[in-house]
């Protein structure tokens, strides 16, 4: 306990010295976030300073072991760091699919060589990753995917198409589900890692309702993927043809992340701020805000409980699905109410005063929360079958 108290005061002092004031407020939309990668640019000096300080301390991935680029914090210490960062409103120094998704999968399934090689790159923000799961015909029914890798001995030749690949045009590498055995639905998929600069990989951005184009169609045209990048560094995670196990494990983490269980923002009430900003709200809206705050504060307690239970292995393995469902539906409601309280100002699409229309763009972006990483309907199906054990169709 005394050790933790000391850790807390050290952390507080470190944050005080290293977290610039500009980094102590929420990011203004997706392009105000640092994603790392080979072609990364910083939006401003504060963003760079904050990232570099965290990278050097291992705080981009505080709970990962030191030899893989983390700070090796215990779960209790990591919680203290999270609390102290939340206390001053510090943003994450680095946003990264490598941290949220690939990293946990490598920590669980990777070889020692893969961990040393890839995890360090991820922790240091050197390589930006994208996720090649969905295909035009395979969304919720992901396992029906068709992208095919033909076995050529020491390499595969990959052909096919992915869709909704977030930031594919900005990513350096892709973690990609590729069918390597056509006869076997579940046990015929390999989880491959390869460079987006490989010949035959091309991307085409898709414009979203928010006006942004954060994701792409991704095409693979005779892409040559080697089976290994060096001693003990296979180009696939887990076993060949057993990539579905890795994909499912990763989806668990993705859902946890999207649920926002870990974010203080998701659980906070909004009624006080919104009615102040709007100069008061009418009674029916106030009532909705109050009901929302009840749900948000209750969800916040659930998020805390969930993380506590995960830490000691008490959570049901399918519980991330419940968190994803509840957290994303709540976030959509939050932004509906923010639009309602904002009135006509929240409609402004690109004025300076509205920071480039952050409110309407964010509102539109949240609609994807209950689609990406598995839809709400799919989550409910998983809860019904795996937790309530209702009979399958």
């Amino acid at each position: 306990m005394a050790d933790l108290d000391q850790f807390r005061s050290e952390t507080r002092a470190w944050l005080e010295a290293n977290c610039p004031p500009e980094m102590r407020k929420p990011a203004e939309g997706e392009d105000d976030v640092y994603w790392g990668g080979r072609n990364a640019t910083f939006k401003n000096d504060a963003q760079r300073a904050w990232f570099e300080a965290c990278r050097d301390k291992g705080y981009t991935v505080p709970a990962w072991p030191r030899e893989y680029g983390g700070a090796g914090l215990s779960p209790a210490e990591a919680k203290v760091l999270r609390e102290e960062m939340a206390r001053i409103g510090a943003r994450p120094p680095l946003s990264s699919f490598g941290i949220w998704m690939l990293g946990p999968a490598l920590l669980h399934f990777g070889t020692e060589g893969q961990k040393r090689h890839f995890l360090n790159q991820i922790a240091r923000g050197e390589i930006r990753w994208c996720q090649g799961y969905s295909e035009p015909g395979s969304g919720s029914d992901l396992v029906s995917l068709q992208t095919f890798g033909e076995d050529k001995g020491d390499h595969w030749i990959v052909n096919g198409q992915k869709i909704w690949t977030s930031y594919a045009d900005k990513a350096d590498w892709i973690f990609c589900l590729v069918r390597t055995d056509k006869a076997n639905k579940y046990q015929g998929i390999t989880f491959m890692l390869y460079d987006m600069d490989t010949a035959g990989v091309s991307t085409k951005p898709i414009k979203l309702i928010s006006g942004n184009s954060p994701f792409c169609e991704t095409f693979f045209d005779d892409v040559k993927v080697p089976k290994s990048y060096g001693e003990d560094i296979p180009a696939y995670v887990g076993e060949i043809n057993r990539g579905w196990d890795v994909a499912k494990y990763l989806l668990g983490h993705e859902r946890e992340m999207i649920s926002g269980a870990d974010s203080s923002e998701r659980g906070a009430g909004i009624g006080a701020t919104l009615s102040r900003q709007a100069g008061g709200v009418d009674p029916v809206l106030r009532a909705e805000l109050a009901m929302f705050d009840v749900d948000a504060l209750a969800f916040s307690a659930m998020g805390e409980k969930f993380l506590d239970e995960v830490k000691v292995g008490k959570a049901h393995p399918a519980q991330p699905n419940m968190m994803k469902y509840a957290g994303t539906e709540l976030n959509k409601r939050r932004h509906e109410l923010m639009m309602a309280a904002g009135g006509s100002t929240a409609l402004e699409w690109d004025s300076a005063e509205t920071r480039g229309g952050a409110a309407p763009r964010n509102w539109l972006r949240t609609k994807a929360n209950s689609i990406e990483g598995g839809t709400s309907e799919v989550m409910l199906g998983v809860i019904a079958k795996r937790i309530l054990e209702l009979p399958g169709a």
Binding site: M291, L297, A298, A301, V312, E377, G381, I387, L388, L390
Partner: protein
């Protein structure tokens, strides 16, 4: 503090679960007493058994003969009470009245607490003065008289009031009806002259009193806490009641959901188990999520209350509002998914719906508490 139960609490939960499922079961308690038109609405035998288990004195300090535990532990028992719809004065006696008596004089504690711990006394709490929970307004008057007080006024929704050996009454010793100050709590013994009950059976088969205080004469030592300064204690009693009712509500929700999910796994229509229909699966899964969240909010409120944290009041209202909404959803979905059979008295699911309705009003409904969340948040 982690939001799951410690090993000791998990053990208590197991004990309470087993005890309530056996001794507090619907057939053995709720239906039994209801079908006999029992004037108490609960069984004194069970109350005695609960004392033997140590439940009655959970929140009573060890120096007063209790177990000196907290709201988390009381909530564990209440959740099982809710799951089994066990009629019991536990919430009013062992949670609310015990919270009030914690600040009472040595003499008052010595007079009342041993009976509670032994399961020989039951207590009620009289706060509301109308059909809705409005504890901000207290019109019942207590005027000084001799070395004591004279109480006049009426109280409503005094749960198990006519069966209680002592009723904690909130009355006004000074100021206007809406004032925060000027409130005093009194321990009113059942045989006090001028105390009258119009006891009525509620929709859930429990009994509640319309209480009349017609110049009830009390000694000075009937005062609990400070004269005129009772609002803080009252708020503590209310928060304890809210969080307790939330825990019981979570239990009601879980009981209703368990029955319903079991039914979905048994009933066949169109040649299939109805649990195979996605329309019902998704609603059941949504209900599960809501119950988990309500439960987490309730545990959080219990912990904050035990820690005497400043945010306990806000979280108490969050818990009561969330639990009420969730239990309401659980019983409505439960009856609907049972189809026609859910409308019959023979099946238990309807009993859950009735209990939920009474519990929803007890200590303030979801509307009251959402409003309170807004007020405490400054809007």
């Amino acid at each position: 503090m982690p939001l799951y139960h410690t090993d000791d609490q998990a053990m208590l939960a197991e004990t309470a679960q087993q005890f309530m499922a056996e001794e507090g079961a619907i057939a053995k308690q709720l239906r039994h007493w209801r079908d006999r038109d029992c004037k108490d609405g609960f069984g004194h035998g069970l109350w005695k058994q609960m004392a033997e288990m140590g439940f009655t004195g959970l929140l009573v300090p060890e120096t007063d003969g209790g177990l000196g535990m907290g709201h988390v532990e009381a909530g564990i028992v209440l959740e099982e009470i809710g799951r089994n719809l066990t009629p019991s004065p536990f919430l009013t006696s062992s949670v609310m009245a015990a919270t009030a008596l914690a600040v009472a004089s040595d003499e008052a504690r010595g007079r009342w607490l041993p009976g509670l711990v032994a399961g020989e006394s039951v207590f009620a709490v009289a706060i509301d003065e109308g059909p809705k929970h409005r504890p901000e307004t207290i019109a019942t008057r207590a005027e000084r008289s001799g070395n004591g007080f004279r109480l006049s006024g009426t109280k409503d929704f005094v749960v198990y009031g006519a069966s209680a050996d002592m009723i904690v009454v909130a009355a006004r010793t000074s100021g206007a009806d809406d004032d925060a100050d000027g409130v005093t709590l009194f321990a009113v013994p059942k045989d006090a002259a001028g105390l009258g009950h119009n006891s009525v059976r509620l929709v859930d088969s429990s009994m509640a009193s319309h209480l009349t205080l017609d110049g009830v004469e009390l000694d000075g030592d009937a005062v609990i806490g400070e004269v005129d300064g009772g609002r803080d204690v009252l708020n503590r009693v209310l928060d304890a009641g809210r969080v307790g009712a939330a825990a019981e509500g979570v239990g009601v929700a879980r009981g209703a959901m368990d029955l319903t999910v079991d039914y979905l796994k048994q009933r066949k229509q169109f040649g299939r188990l109805i649990g195979e229909f996605q329309a019902l699966q998704h609603r059941a899964a949504h209900l599960y999520s809501e119950i988990e969240i309500a439960r987490a909010a309730t545990t959080k409120a219990q912990q904050l209350l035990d820690a005497d944290a400043p945010s306990a009041s806000l979280m108490a209202s969050v818990a009561k509002a969330k639990a009420s909404r969730t239990a309401g959803l659980a019983v409505r979905e439960g009856v609907q998914m049972h189809g026609g059979i859910g409308m019959t008295d023979e099946y238990d699911i309807g009993l859950y719906m009735k209990r939920d309705r009474a519990l929803a009003e007890f200590m303030g409904d979801a509307f009251y508490h959402a409003d309170r969340v807004a007020r405490l948040s400054g809007y």
